[in-house]
Symmetry: C2
Subunit: 465 residues, 2 copies
Amino acid sequence: MQLATVKEIYRETNRFLNQKVEISGWVRTLRTSKAFGFIEINDGSFFQNIQVVFEESLENFAEVGKLSISSAIRVQGELVPSPGAKQPFELKAETIEILSIAAADYPLQKKRHTFEYLRTIAHLRPRTNTFAAVFRLRSVIAYAIHKFFQEKGFVYVHTPIITGSDAEGAGEMFKVTALDLAQPPKDEEGNVDYSKDFFGRVTSLTVSGQLNVETYCMAFRNVYTFGPTFRAENSNTARHAAEFWMIEPEIAFANLADDMNLAEEMMKYLIQYALDNAPEEMAFFNNFVDKSLFKRLENILTSDFVRTTYTEAVEILEKEKEKAKFEYPVRWGMDLQTEHERYLTETIFQKPVFVTDYPKDIKAFYMRLNEDQKTVAAMDLLVPGVGEIIGGSQREERLDVLESRMQELGLSAEDYWWYLDLRRYGGVNHAGYGLGFERMIMYLTGMSNIRDVIAFPRTANFCEF
Amino acid sequence: MQLATVKEIYRETNRFLNQKVEISGWVRTLRTSKAFGFIEINDGSFFQNIQVVFEESLENFAEVGKLSISSAIRVQGELVPSPGAKQPFELKAETIEILSIAAADYPLQKKRHTFEYLRTIAHLRPRTNTFAAVFRLRSVIAYAIHKFFQEKGFVYVHTPIITGSDAEGAGEMFKVTALDLAQPPKDEEGNVDYSKDFFGRVTSLTVSGQLNVETYCMAFRNVYTFGPTFRAENSNTARHAAEFWMIEPEIAFANLADDMNLAEEMMKYLIQYALDNAPEEMAFFNNFVDKSLFKRLENILTSDFVRTTYTEAVEILEKEKEKAKFEYPVRWGMDLQTEHERYLTETIFQKPVFVTDYPKDIKAFYMRLNEDQKTVAAMDLLVPGVGEIIGGSQREERLDVLESRMQELGLSAEDYWWYLDLRRYGGVNHAGYGLGFERMIMYLTGMSNIRDVIAFPRTANFCEF
């Protein structure tokens, strides 16, 4: 008798075929007649189920025949070629031990459920096909990200989650406190006295690890962070969550072209990795979630990504604005809207597009000023079906330029003393970008709501589980 | 001319020897005489430096000779065997381009600095040998953890950081809020009205992902989380931080013995991985941080870990208490102190020890009650030099037992409805453990303060950078 997982049986069938095996798992479906029955078992190790056949010779035939969905069993028997066309093999049960009988009100019965409903039982939804596929893929891609960067010699940095600085002003921040909100200590002027808080100052949840990771870039050359980030923005859309994970690589002795090369290579690597390492899940997404998925991903794998400047992009969009019927106006100096981004990547170029060199006024203070004094060495990667998926830039390494830019924007040099130090002590040209991990998972699966690619999503007025 | 990193030159020397190469990096040391000079360059890709030799024939010989520490340069030249004994090769410079001149007040000059001082310049300390080694190892081990679990088919789950529940009461929690602390909204009774907060309820930073990850364990069989966790505890020790990373695997169809087998295998894997994949860094730690390091790690690699019950351990300790001169008393029912743990693993067994089956009253509610009704199926792993490094248990899968245990402890079944659901709907025996990531890094490096293995540590009254 060999212990086996369903994955092992599918992946190494020859090792188990016509052998006695033992598996444990949960009942997904059960059909029974007087003399025999079929159980589809899933043991969590693999996307697909394995079919168990049992006959009335089984000691506890009657009990087994009445098992409820999601009950757990341990089966011993022989793995034999299946006469049915639906599966290559089946397990002919000799004994079935009942480990646990699921209560009859188990919510995931055979019928289909809406994604909305399934969010209310987020603790059970990974047992459905869709969410089993989504969350296994999420795990596979998280690993692929580490593998990609580590094999290139990048150093992974855990940038801090709790921060004392307002970072880049990238968005509304959550406060972190150990004070009693009902009666916070006050100073003489009646203001909350944060010097009495745990950290002795105002602290928040990070919105980006970039500034911190730049410090490590100046030590290790190539680094990345991959961790949770937060926005206290009440935007109730399908693409925003209050808590999400971000990947932020940063490379030294590198310019914007190097940055784009890295992003392009990473995108292709992750797509190929998904197809190679989660073939059953990817096929499921292509069949049941987004029928254009494989075509869309294939297009990225085989394309050289377009590189065009913001100025060129705006010229193109201005020419096309009648035909395209944009809702928002297009003119130099404005940020591109999703409709513009999608038009560029889907209609004009029909493949991924890096738009570079945006007006400095619509970009962050740390982006490197170009020679024209009007634009910065920024880049956004636009992909068909989504629009922007990556945003990055070469960083301003020149101390004087950075300082005058900060002054223009009213940022205090004192608050950023350590960030400026990087420019004082051996600062070199460097660049980086941010990829929202959930956006990437949505892109790879075709899932359209960010709540459905996060195990326990946190959004405005929702923090269950 | 080949672009190269210092790592490539060390690892693939034959590819570059007697060839023209170009490297970029930072000046670590510089010695110069009238006719020639030596520069040790580090480019961040590798623990070791490379020596550059330059002669007065160099166009900018005078300028290069005056370069300050941490200035950045690009060197082109030939990689030649070194006549010196200290390095196998050196780079004979043909051109040296000065990329950036570090200000003269750069704090990391040649002299030694204390770790305490270096914490005040956490943005620069990864440029020192010690911290370059620590933080590269941290990255290598983070990857090793993913590799270990992923290659075993475990699914990585990002459990939530912001939580609405008090979890296991594992410690003081930080509150997360978007309310204005100066003027929080109040309800009719004058209490803070959290229904007006971002999530519409009280929310905190997680202290453990375990309860959440158990839900995925019942779907995917073998799962793990690896993410930040938080404690608002004002314990100003060398082993506690307010923000730290934790690894929490959870396995289904598994008991306490399986749990210990997994922990033992993981510990050995991580140690071996460090020795194999960061040999220069590990040798540095053994030479300069903890001269007993290799001996200590070797002992773990070659030992079968001891497994003893709490009851046996207490008997042993009671017998030895005179000889050992314990500060704290020993008797059945009390939690073991660090002195007891270390005595067991260092003096009695002289190798790693799992202590199992602790009294239920000193352990968490979710641990599985043993047949004696007095102990639970818990385990702590004690290792020489540290004491406890891992804590885990088999979980209570029996709904009725769990419910009555929660009632005993005054925990509300309503708050845990989804956790109890796991027992209603196909709950099976399962187990897991937690490993503090920083503890592991301290163990692997010999570093004795947790602040020195976290890039930007967060502790009471300290949240800089």
